[in-house]
């Protein structure tokens, strides 16, 4: 059997934390674990990747990987695969991970499983469907390497204390047309970071517009140290920026308390918040799926309950 590789996503802030989770899992599957880190900052990330289980880090600091997202990395990975023949490659389930894995699949013709929550071997992985109510074990077949995109926070990131040999990678310039990044823009979010907040208060379609999010801001301020998030429905509607989004294509949060206001509980949202220690759901629809997973489900009008709760929290704080 060939090695297990982890695609190490390199962001402007360093190694994407999900990469370290994948390395932790990979070393429980295989003694021969390598990370592939492509883009500016890759070489300096090698020590951290080694300390989480990569024995080899294939690295390149070439700007081309950041300037042409997905495709250059996929073609470079394809060349490495041709040389060193891994059996399994794990990717973080991010936009970047999806783009690289999706392009690579066209080159290798190998299987690509998305949304994995656990990996048993290069032949079998696990996912959850229907809001996490069903567990599905999937047999993987076809040519190696098998490609698996893993949901963030499926595993803890634990250091191994190891060190990695760094192998410098030559960039493969793909044939044909490739998209190019010509500008980068940051959109700053205010308040505590969603992923780090002790309490997350999230609003969904039930809020009906952008203005009611100020009610959630008020409650967050009354609780103190709380962050405001949103479901994809509210982000799609343009009520709040993408940075608020909790769920499959947004942030994964694990706060002490998650308060879902006017959120029905679609699968795509649930996967981003089901790791919360305690869940409170406020919904006027008694059949909303979110009420089934809530520790405290409140059936009622959030436009009355949220402001009253803010008052109650303030009253207790001052008494």
């Amino acid at each position: 059997m060939g090695a297990t590789w982890v695609f190490a996503e390199i962001t402007p802030d360093g190694v994407y934390p999900g990469t370290l989770e994948l390395l932790t899992k990979a070393r429980s599957l295989d003694t021969d674990v390598a990370a592939v880190a492509l883009g500016p900052g890759a070489t300096s990330a090698a020590a951290e990747l080694g300390a989480h289980g990569a024995r080899t880090v294939y690295a390149s600091d070439d700007e081309a990987f950041a300037d042409h997202p997905g495709r250059v990395a996929a073609h470079t990975l394809h060349a490495l695969i041709g040389r060193d023949a891994p059996s399994l490659i794990l990717f973080p389930g991010t936009y970047e991970g999806r783009d690289v894995a999706g392009c690579l699949q066209a080159l290798t013709g190998s299987t690509l499983m998305a949304n994995a929550t656990d990996i048993e071997s290069a032949q079998r992985a696990r996912t959850e469907i229907f809001g996490g109510t069903k567990i599905v074990d999937v047999d993987l077949a076809g040519p190696e390497p098998r490609l698996v995109l893993v949901r963030p926070k499926s595993f803890p990131a634990e250091p191994s204390g190891g060190t990695a040999d760094v192998v410098t990678v030559d960039t493969v310039t793909p044939p044909g047309p490739t998209a190019t990044v010509v500008e980068r823009h940051a959109e700053a979010a205010s308040g505590p970071k969603l992923e780090e907040a002790n309490v997350v208060i999230a609003g969904g379609r039930g809020l009906g517009g952008p203005e009611p999010f100020s009610m959630l801001d008020d409650l967050a301020a009354a609780i103190g140290g709380a962050a405001v998030g949103a479901s994809r429905a509210a982000v799609d509607a343009g009520w709040v920026p993408y940075a608020y989004q909790v769920g499959q294509t947004g942030k994964t949060v694990k706060p002490e308390v998650y308060i879902a206001a006017g959120i029905s509980g679609a699968l795509q949202h649930v996967v981003g918040m089901k790791g919360a220690k305690r869940i409170v759901a406020i919904n006027k629809d008694a059949d909303a799926p979110i009420l089934k997973m809530a520790d405290l489900g409140v059936i009622g009008d959030l436009f009355e309950i949220v402001p009253a709760l803010t008052e109650e929290v303030r009253r207790r704080a001052s008494s």
Binding site: P69, G70, R71, Y95, R98, D99, G102, C103, Q105, A106, G109, T111, L112, A114, N115, R124, I129, F130, T133, K134, I135, V136, D137, D139, L140, G176, P177, A179, T180, V182, R184, H185, E187, N198, V199, I223, A226, V235, D236, Y242, Q248, E256, V257, S264, K277, R278, L291, K292, M293, L296, G297, V298, I299, G300, I305, L309, E312, V313, R316, A317
Partner: protein, 252 residues
């Protein structure tokens, strides 16, 4: 400019999904719909041809029932449809799907192919990139704004921390984020007109794709451990109960 939009017919997004005896998602329960995530890209396509001329083709793959999704696209204003339906494609994985759809797309000239970022039933989010590489054209994912710029497209791509601007030469494949546009509702006139628009129905063999074997098979489906039943409250006590709950959790 000719735009091809990939659309998917999905089980009712607000209903309760179910697995059949073969452990595949039940797709013919009669209450399916065009994936709401596809309407943003369809709207973008319609706007592009309204300003720049050309035609919008909608392409879908699925069981016979999925024609209803294609028809909604035609009712919104697309000019023609291609429906790929084949019993051999039941349970198709992303590689087979990408190869089949790439072959369907390549049958007619296109400047742009648009898909959703991810489907509402599968959430895979990789198929359009695989399709682009199979077609040998550039791709940009998670696009929230796009405009033609001479021989190129110029797109804003959603990122974790903001957005990037990318350029890609025509033809290109993009995925469009939900919320990128405000999809129109089909008018009565549009619904009537859709009935006479050309729809071509093809099989995988018609497209020259013969290897339909899926590389992923479901080995087992089990129920996740049930979560202990939570407490449900209604009425006037709710506010005090939530506050007590937050106090128990030591967050207030």
């Amino acid at each position: 400019m000719n735009v091809t939009v990939l659309v998917k017919f999905v089980p009712n997004p607000t209903g309760t999904p179910a697995l059949g005896p073969d452990n595949l998602l039940v797709r013919d329960a009669g209450d399916g719909a065009l994936d709401p995530g596809d309407e943003y890209g369809l709207e973008l396509a319609l706007q592009l041809v309204e300003t720049g001329g050309g035609e919008v083709t909608v392409v879908s793959m699925g069981p016979a029932e999925a024609l209803a999704g294609l028809q909604r696209g035609l009712a919104m204003g697309a000019h023609r449809g291609v429906m790929v339906t084949d019993p051999g494609l039941r349970g198709a994985d992303t590689l087979v799907t990408a190869r089949v759809l790439a072959a369907a797309v390549a049958r007619s000239p296109y400047d742009l192919v648009i898909a959703g970022v991810e489907s509402t039933d599968g959430y895979t989010g990789t198929m359009p990139t695989t399709l682009a590489e199979s077609l040998g054209v550039a791709s940009i994912t998670a696009v929230r704004k796009l405009e033609p710029d001479g021989d190129d497209f110029r797109a804003e791509r959603q990122t974790e921390s903001g957005f990037d601007v990318l350029t890609a030469p025509k033809p290109a494949v993009i995925t469009v984020t939900a919320g990128a546009t405000q999809p129109r509702y089909p008018s009565l006139k549009g619904i009537m007109a859709a009935k006479s628009k050309p729809v071509e129905t093809v099989s995988a063999a018609d497209l020259g794709v013969t290897d339909l074997a899926a590389t992923q098979t479901v080995a087992a489906v089990t129920d996740a451990p049930a979560k202990a039943g939570g407490e449900i409250v209604t009425g006037d006590d709710a506010v005090v109960r939530i506050a007590d709950f937050l106090a128990d959790a030591k967050v207030i």
